[in-house]
């Protein structure tokens, strides 16, 4: 371990993934001026250069390349940071990808990439830091999830599956790590007021179906503008969510799930009070254009 000043040694170490854009970037920006933390921000190779241009590295703020799909890379980064700073106090699993496409327009390659980015990668990072946190008898794992982690909407099925996986594992982890003083929090995001917020990828087939008005095209033509409209109406800009996450780091709440935007709270409330056999029909009738979904292939009732 390298020698460091006593002043730095006592500051908690925060590791954040997916800082190349969106929430991760805002979080990095908000923490870059915080003298009371040591922060490691990470991103994939092609985004690291931009981070180096926009942030100044010093003895309490570092930038590293991290591909969450690469276990060896994860272990190397955790090993390096332990070597330099001697501990890891908080990880924020923020890196994610969001495919938009009905299940029929997804493929196993895209499904796997999404699952690896949103679930398997974050779990590898958790496994890499758990022995360190257990040794410390303290630590905090913050997994960034979504309203898609509590319910699923059309064209978001595969993304929703990956976030449900993350939520399920996080819930188990809450019980498993509690005795060791390790906090586990899921921060659930809903609609965020930012054009560049979500790293949304439209699958090949989704694009083609939209272009040629194939089966399911009505879903894209109604859901995409609807989601964009709700994002514009959202009262939660990414800066506000970044500040909420810093609040979670500072207060270390014992609750597992934390709603970061008001719509998450609302959706969760509806999901809890409305019986499940009514819930899907309720959303079906509430979603825009649902009565014309299926187009000419629709089964006449």
């Amino acid at each position: 371990m390298k020698l460091m000043s006593d002043q730095q040694m006592n500051k908690p170490v925060i590791v954040i993934t997916g800082c190349g854009s969106g929430l991760g970037y805002e979080l990095a920006k908000a923490l870059s001026n915080r003298e009371d933390y040591r922060v490691l921000i990470t991103a994939r190779a092609h985004k690291v250069e931009k981070l180096r241009q926009n942030f100044t590295e010093n003895d309490r703020f570092k930038i590293r390349e991290l591909d969450i799909l690469n276990d060896q890379n994860i272990y190397n980064v955790v090993h390096d940071i332990c070597n330099e700073w001697g501990r890891v106090d908080v990880i924020v699993n923020n890196a994610a990808v969001c495919y938009r496409g009905v299940i029929e327009h997804m493929d196993s390659e895209a499904e796997l990439l999404q699952l690896r980015t949103n679930y398997l990668g974050p779990m590898s990072l958790v496994r890499a830091v758990l022995p360190i946190m257990r040794e410390q008898r303290s630590g905090q794992i913050i997994n960034i999830s979504s309203v898609s982690g509590i319910l699923a909407m059309p064209t978001m099925g595969s993304y929703s599956a990956s976030k449900h996986a993350l939520e399920g594992a996080s819930e188990a982890l809450w019980y498993e790590e509690k005795p060791f003083g390790i906090r586990v929090n899921i921060v659930e995001l809903g609609f965020v007021n930012s054009e560049s917020f979500h790293n949304v990828v439209l699958s090949n087939k989704a694009k083609l179906s939209t272009l040629l008005k194939g089966p399911h095209s009505e879903y894209y033509l109604s859901m995409s503008p609807f989601i964009e409209k709700l994002m514009k109406l959202s009262v939660s800009p990414p800066q506000k969510i970044a500040s909420k996450i810093i609040d979670v780091i500072e207060k270390q709440p014992t609750a597992l799930r934390i709603a970061a935007t008001p719509d998450v709270w609302l959706f969760d409330f509806i999901r809890r009070i409305v019986p499940s056999k009514i819930l899907n029909y309720l959303f079906w009738f509430m979603l825009p254009g649902s009565l014309s979904w299926g187009g000419r292939w629709r089964k006449s009732s």
Partner: protein
Amino acid sequence: MITKLKKVLIVEDDLSQKQLWNFVISRVSESAEVDWAVSSEQALTMIKKNKSLGKLYDLLIVDLFLAGSETGLDLLKSEEVVSAGPKTILVSAIDQKNFEDQLRQELAHIKLIIKPLNIIKCENTIVELVS
């Protein structure tokens, strides 16, 4: 009967269509050999393998939405298919007007069959294209 139809590749992930296509091909050509692929990736492998054996497909029947990450459009635009230049039929459930507006220019040589399929429609399209 179209005697010059020797080798056909059908690229379709809906296997319930297999019986219909086999029947249609047997009606238009007694000797035609039919291969089946469910994805663009699998079709390309078969095209390359047959090419290395000196065999070329006379007719490609391609669905637009396939298994795998690529679409029928990717297959039709691939170098292997463009350079071999087989007669081609695109099969899909898309809106015909949108196809004509958006893709007809770059796929001028292909025939389009809009689903749902029926034997007469498929047979007539093949005869018109190949004979």
